[in-house]
Symmetry: C2
Subunit: 250 residues, 2 copies
Amino acid sequence: MTTEGASSDGTTEGVSSEDTFDEYADLGATTENAMEIAETSMDRVRKLVPQETIADRIRGKSVHATGDPEFQHLVRFTGPTDDAPVRAGARAVLESRPIVTDITMVKAGITGRGHDCPVRKAIGNGAELAERTGMTRTAASVLELDREGVYDDAIAVIGNAPTAALALADCIEDGTRPAVVVATPVGFVKAAESRERLRAVAAEHGVPAISNVGRRGGSGLAAGLTNELVHVASDVRDGSIDAEWAADLR
Amino acid sequence: MTTEGASSDGTTEGVSSEDTFDEYADLGATTENAMEIAETSMDRVRKLVPQETIADRIRGKSVHATGDPEFQHLVRFTGPTDDAPVRAGARAVLESRPIVTDITMVKAGITGRGHDCPVRKAIGNGAELAERTGMTRTAASVLELDREGVYDDAIAVIGNAPTAALALADCIEDGTRPAVVVATPVGFVKAAESRERLRAVAAEHGVPAISNVGRRGGSGLAAGLTNELVHVASDVRDGSIDAEWAADLR
């Protein structure tokens, strides 16, 4: 069906009035109205999560990604300060380190703008290992990429699979050092536990990490938090970030 | 780094014991342990959402996808009964209707198994319309695909963009008839309102729809609910679903 001809709510195609399309703007934000309304959305989030520290950028993004104001209290930062893993993540983006996601869906959610980081996914690797051992394909894919050295100095993102988070924790225990870990697997079997273990191992070995507590989480959240690291890096690059925040990032 | 040599928690690579890799099983579920634990996960969900109706399959999946037992109460079914849109969705899968998602991330989350539906995304279409009018790219992409007739009889999935949901509502108002709509856009600007409008328009024009109330939602949820339609269809196909439920679906 077409949208030609005036409909009752202003979706007439080809009309030049800008106001006509107000309702079609959101966070896709390459078009005029889209960018206006993206800003409205972030304004609302900033009222829910006052932006007082650089870690608050991540807390705010968690609220934005989940649509839930309370989610800010479920985010955890592993490092000497809450800001530290966010700084480490932004620095890794500025250094164009690889972003390595667990599954295709998380990779699909990583923004293409504001960074030169290669983006790759783990899933699809390690099939032989999975078949031989019975471990999950995502866990095997993490172990396989780790064997190739992919996770050292990388931005390691686990959005879906608890077993991938557990595998990454083992890799860290065995000596791998990602630049930063973003881990938000979701669900009822080992999701919370896998993040707990990842936090413990990351803390022990000095690996900066951003994660959450509880059963919630998922691919959209992981992609959103990673994209916020890219946004912080962009703000550092173009000088629009608070100078104190950016102090060790230029 | 490698995982060779025994580590403290049994992630030794190349060990033949099946038990060794228990911790690496989740819902990726093509490997042995993965399938066992996927079943554990769904067992836990079934305790939280007793499976008494076919609509409960969708409620359960919403809990599974969000990791939140309370989410079952936020799901809404548009149709003569709660079961009706689930049946319509399963029927559309059995008829191999196209699955059309709003964005790439939702498309990436649609299972490749259990159906022969072509899967495509809207985003990437309608660029000229977006530029000319200032509407969002996702909204323009829906209007453009609709002009090509893509949404009639399709499984229309909106996981991310409120403006895409509003655009689809306009298309339905103008005569388009998807086989079923799955709509779970997330966020603080028009997400809840876009779903409300979509439900009103769908109800008025007899289009079956599955959606949620509130600000929460997102790509993972949309993909999960759509995949559950595929699972229901698979159960109908292989006869493992309750005969009464499957009555008008064979």
